[in-house]
Amino acid sequence: MTAGTIWRCWLTLMLLLAATTASAFVPLGSLNLPVSLAIAVAKALIVLIFFMELRASRPLVRSFAAAGFFWLLIMIVLTGADYWHRNDTRAPIDEMPLPSR
């Protein structure tokens, strides 16, 4: 990792930041969240690969780095399996007295 790569990465990160903020103001409807998350993943990958030197690390270290994110993905996808498919009618919750604790 040389000073050159660091500042090139920094520039790319700044451009991506500008891109993601700009994309938020474009009315893409339901696409806004995926686009902003994709850009965030790109920025995170740059920091992981270059700044945290995963590019120069042994496969074992790379697998440790990937494990955390992979398990987080498991959690998001499987809780999503419930939340994306749940269509229940919300009852009026105002009628529930809240205990004065």
Partner: protein, 211 residues
């Protein structure tokens, strides 16, 4: 690190360096899941509540958020510069880069603090003075996530700043010679805190900007 006597469980310095790096990455994996649980909860509510959540998100200050992200990304670059200059053997350059990193970190916390103060004035702080009748309970949930996530992140950042300053002091006073892995570890931790913010920024600030 090299002047420190090698632990009895290590046979070579290289083995210690690899072990300590692996240990740090394992710790970062736990931190990913620690913050990840909060982000997963946020995403589920974002899917489930959708409209009210996005409406609440539009009350956050995207200008300050973007500025903060730029500050933190720059501090990450400075930290990386500190690591490579320290390995290259120089003594003054890493201290300067580490000082820059710490200052940028403090700048981030400063901007964050002002943002919280503004939100306090706008009565957006749950449990303290939250009153936003327009959206009912769900907006308050958004702001609970907002304050929990940014609070925990700021706490981790303060720990990072103190580590970086301690490191700068040790390099400055010559107590730390190149060859060990302490600098690299603190660098990994700092970059991790930056990655958490990279994911928090779009989720909090960019939702509902084009209503």
């Amino acid at each position: 690190m090299s002047d420190r006597v090698l632990g009895i469980q290590y046979s070579t310095l290289a083995q210690e360096r690899e072990t300590v790096t692996l240990g740090m990455w394992a710790f970062l994996a736990t931190e990913v899941l620690f913050f990840g649980a909060l982000i997963a909860a946020y995403l589920n509510y974002r899917i489930w509540f959708g409209a009210e959540f996005i409406a609440a998100a539009s009350l956050t200050k995207v200008a300050l958020g973007t500025a903060n992200t730029a500050v933190l990304l720059t501090s990450s670059a400075c930290m990386a510069m500190a690591v490579i200059t320290f390995d290259a053997g120089s003594k003054r350059a890493p201290v300067l880069w580490l000082a820059a990193t710490a200052l940028l970190g403090l700048a981030f916390v400063g901007i964050k603090g002002t943002e919280w103060f503004l939100e306090y004035q706008e009565h957006l702080v749950p449990a303290l003075n939250f009153d936003l009748p327009r959206y009912g309970g769900i907006a308050e949930i958004f702001f609970i996530f907002y304050f929990c996530a940014t609070g925990l992140h700021a706490l981790h950042l303060l720990i990072g700043i103190s580590l970086v300053s301690w490191l700068a002091w040790r390099i400055g006073t010559g107590r730390l010679q190149p060859g060990g892995s302490t600098t690299r570890l603190i660098g990994l931790y700092w970059h991790f805190v930056d990655i958490v913010w990279i994911f928090l920024f779009p989720l909090i600030y960019l939702a509902g900007r084009n209503m």
